[in-house]
């Protein structure tokens, strides 16, 4: 059973192949609604908004986990990933997305579901097998032609995240040069051991421009597919093996 909705301000699709799928789908969307209430930067009463208004205010265990993932990513990426906006606002959105997908996947697993995927705004966590009994097949969208797929991969149970500029304008910027939005790379897709890893590294890599793919190449367990504005894709050395 597959269900697509707008959740956390993004298009979300969840497909569960096991029996009693409806229950799992509802549980996952209810969880995402809670994530939105707690961590949205568009809500004045979210934990994130409260933290930014009052940095001395105690933060929850979940937000602590999110913030420490963000700090770790900042260090690992040499500052190309930075939750702190130029105006000083701490925005953990780049971490929350992958983190929430992983939590929802864990929730489904705890409810007994084994064969499913969760797709939030183009970032996907997979579990088990598809309807044909084989590996889930994922298509990488063309950044240039709507509806077109430019690459098909079988990521197994890995997480896949794409950072790119075709979505909602240049919302990803380089913290080292915030005046200039990223232009030369239009999208980078990262396949990681889990969706949290894939998501945070994809965000960091995109902010690096052309060097992003080399950052991914240097990370063991991660593969990447980077598409330039000229339509040339550069892939990490282990990416070809994921292609179908």
């Amino acid at each position: 059973m597959k269900d697509s909705r707008i959740s956390m301000g993004m298009p979300v699709s969840i497909e569960i192949l096991d029996i009693d799928a409806a229950r799992g789908i509802d549980a996952a969307y209810a969880y995402f609604d809670e994530v939105d209430r707690r961590f949205s930067t568009y809500r004045d009463d979210s934990e994130v908004a409260q933290m930014n208004r009052d940095p001395q205010h105690a933060v929850s265990a979940d937000l602590t986990e999110i913030l420490s993932l963000g700090e770790k990513t900042r260090e690992e990426s040499g500052g190309f990933f930075d939750m702190r906006r130029p105006d000083g606002y701490i925005d953990p959105t780049g971490i929350v997305k992958g983190w929430a997908i992983q939590k929802a996947a864990d929730l489904l697993a705890s409810l007994g579901y084994q064969n499913f995927y969760i797709d939030v705004g183009g970032d996907v966590a997979f579990s088990g097998k598809n309807e044909a009994g084989g590996d889930w097949q994922l298509g990488i969208r063309s950044p240039f032609v709507r509806g077109e797929i430019v690459k098909a991969i079988a990521p197994g149970s890995r997480g896949v995240a794409t950072s790119g500029s075709a979505a909602r304008g240049d919302h990803i910027y380089n913290p080292h040069d915030p005046e200039h939005p990223i232009r030369d790379v239009v999208s980078i897709t990262v396949v990681g051991p889990d969706i949290v890893t894939a998501d945070r590294y994809a965000t960091a890599a995109f902010a690096m421009g052309q060097d992003g793919i080399r950052f991914i190449e240097a990370i063991p367990g991660c593969e990447g597919y980077q598409i330039s504005a000229a339509g040339i894709a550069t892939m990490t050395s282990g990416f070809r093996a994921l292609s179908v």
């Binding site: 707008i6 993004m10 298009p11 699709s13 497909e15 995927y117 797709d119 705004g121 183009g122 970032d123 996907v124 598809n130 309807e131 889930w136 097949q137 994922l138 298509g139 990488i140 969208r141 063309s142 950044p143 240039f144 032609v145 709507r146 077109e148 797929i149 430019v150 690459k151 098909a152 896949v160 995240a161 794409t162 950072s163 790119g164 500029s165 075709a166 979505a167 909602r168 304008g169 239009v186 999208s187 897709t189 793919i213 080399r214 190449e217 598409i227 339509g231 040339i232 894709a233 550069t234 892939m235 990490t236 050395s237 990416f239 070809r240 179908v244």
Partner: protein
Amino acid sequence: MKRYLISAGLIFTSIAYLIAQHLGADDGEHVVVAPPTSTSTDTSVGSSPTYSQTASSSTSTGSDTGTGSGSSSSGSQSGGTGTTGSTSAGKYIDGSYTGTAANAFYGYVQVKAVVSGGKLTAVQILEYPNDRSTSRYINSQALPYLEQEAVAAQSASINTVSGASDTSQAFRESLASALTQAKS
């Protein structure tokens, strides 16, 4: 400039001397010596890049004493890895032989003679020190090659997609229609 020409010429002399020493009574083989990047035009020291084993006249100047600053004399080959080979009647012994460093105006030049099948098959000019350190630096900066391809539409059967979401416009349209439904 003149000092340079003389130095370059002496290098050729030392090369020629080296070769002449080891040429056996073979059938007039010719060896080609790759000249350094700046070739000398001073013909008096036989700067032609081609030597035959009988053209010992090309080595007339200074060959008796094997002089020239730092050039090998009497067949000494400090830094070489092979034997000197005895007389002009014997064949070469296979291997690589590195001559001493000859001090030219622009730096040191050293040659390596390669023998295979009993014949002198190549003579390499080894250039250093600046060139070597430069190439070492360049190699350490070399980045690994990452495969590239032009993106093109694929028609594979897939279960779901990843990618930068739909364009801003499409996203807004979709959201607007959903919100419209939510209102009614």
